[in-house]
């Protein structure tokens, strides 16, 4: 009798155990992510400045926010940045992965070279990039020194082009990582299918387009998640390379939010911008995650 009751207890424990194991993560998430988000949204309706304060002022922070021209600049920059960054990283990563997959000699050497930028923090790589892009001392100067006097490369000094230098450095940092993801995907594809198709006389190009790339769909999805996550969080890069300049031309929502919340003592407006950022992220990510997760069922 006792042993049966014991076994019963054990089974019951076994059914609860999985949920018990998840519960710490769930608790942490609810408090440290979702409650914090709620707090930040709440602050956006208050008169918080230096520190959180709880005087309710309704939508005032939002109306102020939309009167600020560099908030619009930062949103526009985010659009340009995210679009270019994600697409270039994906295209470049895929190309390099396909090339590297052609029985390349020295792959073992090339791969870490492509990957290492991910290992560096932008606190100082930013300075290296800044120098390199600076017309007076960097690339322009060097190429002119080689005798090509007319060479010009001064994007970082140009208000309308500076954002592209941020894209360049960001692509430098993560495209190798994306390459690794695609390379892994490529290596996972069954060779027999490719051989069969080749027998049928398909060209390399159509082979990739018709057979290989469609099979890489999971890799594309993972790359998209990681790249969009990095795009949203891009912060150090801007601070280190341009400080948001020239003028405020390379401000991104993340730098905007940080500067209003912490350096300009306008926590209310900072929180309002954070709220809008979160809504934007949610409106892109939630449908994506939803379709992605449902398909996996």
């Amino acid at each position: 009798m006792a042993s049966i009751a014991g076994a019963d207890m054990k089974t019951r424990l076994q059914t609860w155990l999985p949920k018990l194991v998840l519960s710490p993560s769930l608790a942490l998430m609810l408090v440290f992510v979702y409650a914090f988000i709620a707090f930040s949204v709440y602050l956006s309706f208050t008169d918080s400045r230096l520190l959180p304060s709880y005087g309710w002022i309704g939508l005032e922070n939002y109306t102020k926010l939309w009167r600020l021209s560099h908030w619009e600049t930062s949103l526009k920059n985010m659009g340009i940045f995210a679009l270019l960054y994600i697409s270039i990283c994906t295209a470049l990563g895929l190309t390099l992965a396909i090339f590297l997959d052609q029985k390349i000699r020295g792959e073992g050497l090339l791969r870490p070279i492509y990957l290492y930028p991910m290992a560096l923090s932008f606190i100082v790589t930013g300075t290296a990039w800044k120098w390199f892009l600076d017309p007076g001392i960097g690339l322009e100067n060097v190429i002119q020194g080689w005798g090509w006097e007319g060479f010009e490369f001064r994007w970082i000094k140009d208000r309308s082009l500076a954002i592209y230098t941020i894209v360049l450095a960001a692509v430098w940092q993560t495209s190798g990582f994306v390459m690794a993801m695609f390379l892994a995907g490529l290596r996972g594809i069954d060779n027999e299918i490719l051989k069969a198709a080749q027998m049928d006389g398909a060209s390399n190009w159509s082979l990739y387009r018709r057979i290989v790339i469609p099979q890489l769909r999971p890799a594309f999805l993972s790359a998209f998640v990681i790249l969009s996550h990095l795009a949203i969080k891009t912060f150090d890069l801007v601070i280190a390379m341009t400080g948001g300049g020239p003028g405020r031309a390379t401000e991104l929502p993340a730098t905007f939010m940080y500067s209003y919340t912490f350096s300009r003592n306008q926590m209310g407006i900072g929180s309002a911008s954070a709220t809008i950022m979160l809504i934007t992220i949610a409106s892109i990510m939630v449908p994506y995650l939803y379709s992605e997760l449902r398909e996996n069922h």
């Binding site: 440290f32 300075t127 390399n204």
Partner: protein
Amino acid sequence: MAAPMQETAIRTGKVARTFIYLVLLLFAAFYMLPLYVMFVNSVKPLAEITGGGMMSLPSVFTLEPWVKAWSSAQIGVEPSGLSPYFWNSIKMVVPAVFVSTILGALNGYVLTQWRFRYDTIFFGLLLFACFIPFQIVLIPMAKMLGVMGLAGTTWGLSFVHIVYGIGFTTLYFRNFYAVFPSELVSAAQIDGAGFFQIFRRILLPSSGPIAVVSIIWQFTNIWNDFLFGASFAGADSQPMTVALNNLVQASHGVKEYNVHFAGAILAAMPTLLVYIVGGRYFVRGLMAGSVKG
């Protein structure tokens, strides 16, 4: 589980191959460029840098900036160099990586092998949490750390990194375990193996590749984090990135760029090492699961 390293069967002509090598080498140069700028300038005397020619090779070679960055550069009131901060970072990174990887593995295991009613919602919540900009959590997190008595400690920092690392580690392990043959698990269940027994005996032994991915990802992110390190560290727990920033950001003083670059490379050594040594396993780990939906 580890898929065999196979090359594709696609054949390429001689011209195409030359082109491919050319492109690959060109990009290798592109990736190496900033490191070149940093390295070349870290072995020059300062006068040579400020005198122009930041791209050129040093005419006088010196290792002094490296020695200075490591052991004698002024960081705060102490001329201590970066070395003491190195250990602070290690003490913060190791537990954080370890715990978040374990939690991610367990979560992934439950989410794939012990499906329950709302597991997808749970996973969705966890995944969406990866996307919040960290700047918004600073103030409430400071409050919570104060309440928990962890403010200004290394444990507090590790805790923060664990909390915000779980999302990605869970993602990696879940995708990896999703393609794990479930017959093995049900067979073990019939044999009467318990929850942890199955995890330990069946899933864990084959988790090597994905553990490498998770560890590399977490290690790099936590080691390079500046925002949390600066905001939540106490005087005796400041990590390497904060010290590096203190070194390079003289407000109204002379900037010793050679020392800065040497310091930057020193600060990046552990992560560089992880990538160079672990890089091969990294691709293998990615291959073994995480990029398969």
